[in-house]
Assembly symmetry: C2
Homo-oligomer: 128 residues x 2
């Protein structure tokens, strides 16, 4: 992973590691909200909400824009995609390795059997 990508992953996972910030994201998946609405939802001050929003914006999980005195926030999909993509890659790499391991063990079991059963018999695959 390149350095800037690694730093971006640090930021997005750090942003997600806090219940109030995750609650903001969960709320915004259902539509935009103002800072005041988010503060009421969390039961914290507007100042505390703004701090959480800054962390979420730096990690590209939320974007916001101001119209007059009202700042409205919405989901920025970039951060969600970055975090989910990294996790999916790890899980699929791990699952593919288990599949290959199962294949190897299956072949090995077949090699050591007097083959009255066909080699692709699923019951011969110790894929626990």
């Amino acid at each position: 992973m390149l350095n800037h990508e690694s730093a971006a992953a640090d930021r997005v996972f750090h942003a997600l590691a806090e219940a109030n910030r995750r609650a903001i994201i969960q709320r915004l998946t259902r539509g935009p909200a103002t800072v005041s609405e988010l503060a009421r939802l969390l039961g914290v001050t507007v100042a505390a909400t703004v701090q959480h929003l800054q962390v979420l914006q730096t990690s590209e999980l939320v974007r916001s824009e101001k119209a007059g005195r009202v700042r409205t926030c919405q989901i920025d999909p970039s951060g969600l995609r970055r975090a989910e993509g990294w996790l999916r890659l790890q899980r699929t790499t791990w699952e593919h390795r288990l599949d290959r391991l199962g294949d190897v063990l299956g072949e090995s079991a077949t090699d050591h059997t007097t083959t009255t059963t066909p080699p692709d018999d699923p019951s011969k695959e110790p894929r626990s």
Copy 2:
């Protein structure tokens, strides 16, 4: 989200918010490794590696077992699934909302048009 689930999500995202810990996970998706092998990979001390592993084990991203004096580590899929599952839920909730919004805007555009074009004409869907 229930409190214990929220605490588990805190832990797993916190564990992922550090490049060395992500490097350990990336390595273990390709197969088990000993603590010494992981320390060499990271270029840090065994003690530092053990600390990272403790964070990863607490968040159910890694499990390990000791045979004699050698501790071997492998992926624990629970943590990866928890983090990926939370992110997928947020992304799909957000995408479904966008889809519904697109449908509503599409219907609205159809209502206000003298319909010489069929209502499902994609060019009428302001799905930017």
